[in-house]
Every structure is written in C-alpha cells, then in structure tokens.
Amino acid sequence: MSELAQYNLNLYPFMKPQGPHMPITEAYVSCPPALVIRDDEGSLWTLGFDQGSWRTGEFEYDVVRNGKKTGEHACRIEFRQRRVRIFGQDGWRTWNGRSFV
C-alpha cells in the first residue's frame, strides 16, 4: 500500500467516519489506548498497520485520517485544545488542517 493510500474500510470498519450522531472526542483523549479520535471537522483519526520505527521505545504506525494514510508515523495521537497532535521520533507535531507541523 503506497503513501496516502486508502485502507479497505470493509476490512477495517473502525477507520470509517461514523456519522454525525457520534460526538467529538473529549480533550486529552489519546490513541492508544483510545481506538479513534473525532475532531471538530468530523474527521476520524487512528493508527494504521504500517509499522515505522520504534526509536521512541514504542511501535510507531502510520497516522490514518478517515481511512487514508497521512504519510506520517507516530506512536500516539492526542486531541488537545481542539487540535490533533501526534508524537513520534520527531517529537510532538500538530495538525494545521493540511499537514503536521
């Protein structure tokens, strides 16, 4: 599977956005141990299956938004101050709507 590829949502339905009935994730929720994070835009964030490095001491996986790879790897996704942040070997970075900076 190439960068920015789409996961098979029939095979992995937990990656699929689940509709407006599901609430926005509360602040400070972290994935893992949460499976998914829903942000203010209704996007669903989770970790995929493409394993990266584990220089942080934990396995890092690709960061997935609405079932699509973002091209980033992380061991942690956190929802804080209504922003999605990831932690990986490059430290903490924040989603600006288009990429992690």
Binding site: P13, P23, A34, L47
Partner: protein, 163 residues
C-alpha cells in the same frame, strides 16, 4: 516486515459476555504467534459508557466461534498464515464472535476498560508482546467479561506476526 496478519470483524452483534476473537497457535514445529495489537470499537451507541475488556488464555474446551481467516497486512507478502479459519478454537485455527464459550477455564492475561465512544486500542510495547509458541496448545482470546450496554455494531480485531 512480512508474515504479519490481521483478523478483523465489523458490524457485529454480540450476545453479551463474549469471546470476540480466539486464536490457537499451530502444532509444532511451525511458526510462533506474536500478538502485536488488539482493538475494539463500536458505531451504534453515542452515549458515554464504560466497557470492560480482557485478553484471556484458554488451555482446553475452547469457544465455538465463526471461522475467520487471517488477512495478510502486506499485500505483496507471498506467504499465507499458518492459522486457518475454524469454528472450534482448535489448534492452528482462529475465529470470531463466540456463540458458546466452552467450559475451559479462562486465565486473564490483561484486564482493562474503555469508553465505548473512544474504543480501545492496545499496542504492546516491544517487550510486552504476547508470544504463543507453536505446540503451546493454549489459545488467546479477546473477551468481553461483561456484556456491553449496546450489543450491535461492534468492530474488533487483532494483528499478529509469525516468528
């Protein structure tokens, strides 16, 4: 890395306290099974609620499950898993959503709880992965020790690699 496989199910209605997935390693000599991650989520209930989850070990009288064939994570991986789909929890098989739990004692390996709105993702750090060697004769289950408030639309899965 090759020989990584997932077992996943979605849109599942569970009966209550249920084994969600059960994997029993193959007879020796063969690949050992290293479990890398587990997940559980749902899309039916928009109300906050806590749910217990366990990883259990069973040595005998395994659950009756729906056969589930492991899917390779790397599409170009030429290998197929040594684990096949099976309904009896027998050696070398895997299945999901148990219809009968089986009388064998369940030994809890990992006990946790999660909010159903957020789901549960357990990624073992490298020294904490569970390895079930070929010929072990015991199976590992992802298990709801108590029934959830809403029984419908559960999704769950696990990833293992063969080492």
């Amino acid at each position: 890395m090759a020989r990584e496989f997932s077992i996943s199910a979605g849109g599942i209605t569970v009966a209550g306290a249920t084994t969600l997935i059960f994997v029993n390693p193959s007879a020796a000599p063969n690949f050992n099974i290293e479990f890398l991650r587990f997940w559980v989520g749902q899309s039916a209930n928009a109300t906050s609620a806590q749910q217990r989850i366990e990883l259990i070990n069973k040595a005998s009288v395994f659950p009756t499950v729906t056969a589930a064939t492991p899917t390779k994570l790397k599409v170009a991986d030429p290998n197929v898993s040594v684990i096949t789909g099976g309904t009896a929890g027998a050696i070398g098989t895997a299945g999901t959503n148990a219809s009968a739990e089986g009388a064998g004692a369940a030994v809890v390996r990992w006990d946790d709880a999660f909010n159903v709105l957020n789901g549960w993702l357990h990624v073992a750090t490298p020294p904490e992965t569970a390895i079930y060697p070929a010929g072990f004769g015991n199976g590992l289950g992802l298990y709801f020790p108590v029934g959830p408030a809403t029984l419908t639309n559960w999704a769950f899965g696990l990833v293992f690699r063969e080492v």
